[in-house]
């Protein structure tokens, strides 16, 4: 049994012009200690998938169908209080802007100690020791002396480290990290990626790493899910997806990334832009932009099928499989 199972997840936003389907039939699993990268462009639904798992879907958005199971137990239909307990204890969260996760009015020591005490039976002194240990582990120098500092007294990179420590407080099984390095400078980004990798290894924590940056995924993740217009276009081991993508969207995406040392005059260009939620085409949602589109793509929606070592939702590969 996988640590996290997401099955046929469907998220809807009722609006006055009809219901928008933001996530459509998304299924994936995360094993214990695994880093699953979720990559996609803005509007692909990657952040909403993360928000659904940690139960922070903003109304009027709602889970309309499907199940989310953590260690075999459903967590998508829990009452608010129970969900909140699980959110701190079993699932940690890291967001793009560290300032939104930290209360500016309390010292970071107090925030960490309180969080630990809410989720464990530690005494004040034990929680304090644990706090110092956590802060040292995430790479805050002289952690003991920084307990009395307020969030604004830290630099952006240090703040993100504090947030990571906060997410680790209760030794969660899973951390959902939504664009954890996007707001940081490149050199800090590399430090944070290295830190996440180390923590994942040391604590056997699984990470769902949501980002738009394929480079971050390539560095960090074991498997990657590529999302497009609310669906998973391709999912598989990161090396396979990066080096030998199967879905035309992933192929285009990989070619669009400038790479040092790759001397080309023009980058691969995917024409057009991602459809708006109000106007997702029938059949395969990528069909207006796909260079290899054919008749079937306009009428029938492809499901994820294994092709080689990855799994792609594309009719090109479905044919291959059935041997037509």
């Amino acid at each position: 049994m996988a640590l996290l199972e997401v099955e046929n997840l469907r998220v809807e936003f009722p609006t006055r012009r009809g219901t928008l389907l933001a996530i459509d039939d998304v299924s994936f699993q995360i094993e214990e200690g695994e880093v699953l990268g979720v990559v996609g462009e803005s509007g692909a639904g990657k952040s909403l998938t993360g928000a659904s798992i940690i139960g922070l879907l903003e109304p009027p958005g709602r889970i309309a169908a499907g199940q989310i199971r953590l260690e075999g137990e459903r967590i998508d239909n829990l009452p608010y209080d129970e969900l909140r307990r699980i959110r701190g204890k079993k699932i940690g969260a890291i967001f793009q802007d560290p300032l939104t996760s930290l209360n500016p009015l309390y010292t970071i020591g107090r925030q960490l100690v309180e969080t630990i005490r809410v989720h464990t039976d530690d005494t004040e002194a034990q929680a304090r020791d644990r706090t110092v240990q956590l802060l040292t582990e995430v790479g805050i120098p002289a952690a003991e002396r920084r307990l009395g500092s307020y969030p604004h007294e830290f630099s952006g990179g240090m703040r993100q480290r504090v947030v990571i420590a906060l997410a680790l407080c209760a030794n969660p099984k899973l951390i959902v990290a939504d664009e954890p390095t996007t707001a940081l400078d490149v050199s800090i980004q590399a430090q944070i990626i290295a830190l996440l990798k180390k923590l994942c290894r040391d604590h056997k924590t699984a990470i769902m790493l949501i980002t738009h940056d394929m480079g971050v995924i390539a560095e960090t993740a074991d498997r990657v899910a590529v999302m497009y217009a609310g669906r998973i276009a391709e999912i598989g081991p990161v090396k396979q997806v990066v080096k030998h993508p199967k879905h035309p969207y992933t192929i285009g995406l990989m070619g669009a990334i400038p790479i040092v040392g790759r001397d080309i005059e023009r980058l691969t260009q995917i024409e057009g832009s991602m459809p708006r939620l109000t106007n997702i085409p029938d059949g395969c949602s990528f069909n207006p932009r796909c260079p290899k589109v054919f008749d079937r793509c306009y009428v029938e929606r492809p499901d994820l099928v294994p092709t080689g070592e990855t799994t792609a939702a594309c009719w090109l590969h479905a044919k291959e499989k059935t041997g037509v």
């Binding site: 459809p275 708006r276 106007n279």
Partner: protein, 314 residues
Amino acid sequence: MLDEKTAAKAPSGFVHRFMDSDLVYSFLRSPVVVISFIITALYFLSAAFAPWIAPHNPFDPASLDLMEAFTPPAWTADGSMKFILGTDDQGRDILSTLIFGSRISLIVGFSAVLFSVVLGVGLGLLAGYAGGWAETIVMRFADVQLTIPAILVALMIDGIARIIVPVELRDEMSIYVLILAIGVSDWPRYARVTRGATLVERNKEYVSAARVIGVHPIKIMFQHVLPNVMGPVLVMGTIGLALAIITEATLSFLGVGVPPTQPSLGTLIRVGNNFLFSGEWWITLFPSLALVILVLAVNLLGDWLRDALNPRLR
């Protein structure tokens, strides 16, 4: 792609876009706002067409009959259907004086708001965009004025005007003095809001883009920044209209507003107040009700507009 489709299907043009906007949608969804809007519109319409709508002309001495003075409202024992809301001490029809009085109140309130918006937005825009000394002078001036209650500022200006304006012109000029007094007393609020919004807009890249090609600062202020700061000003102006109407009523109630020959709602309340204890309650009650309903409706509209235009509250 969506835009192309809807544009092809829908009757394009401003009216359609407006009717389809989120603003209209949120308006139609709230009955309180719709009722407020209808009430406000009725006030405006009756003010505009007062001479045709009012059953009597209360300011025509020939039509007044002192015998009809103090007629109570129509539904009481002594009432007459001729005067639905009764008459005052001079036999004037209360309903008609209300209609004409609201007209004066609205004219004064509206003009005063317009005056303070022009003054406040102009100075706020200058302070926010130019910065430096211009900002210091304008904003300190606004700060000082904000420490004095608006009504005192208005009383002061009214007092000064009384000294300057010759006696024979006083009644004629009083309405302009009132507009000036209320307008000047209220500009700092608009200046502050405009300055704040200007500071935000000034640092946006579209302003830099205009500066790169050397557009004149005055042009940037009016063509680029001004249209983008008008949202909050519109909201404040609506709430400001209610405030201005109250200020006008207060000043008139204190006897420094419009003269009794051209009564506003405030004047009517003051005049009627004298008869409250002798039992003629309707002379002051109906003008007071008219004022309360008008101010409430305008305020509710202003509150809705603020929420509807503020994306963070949605």
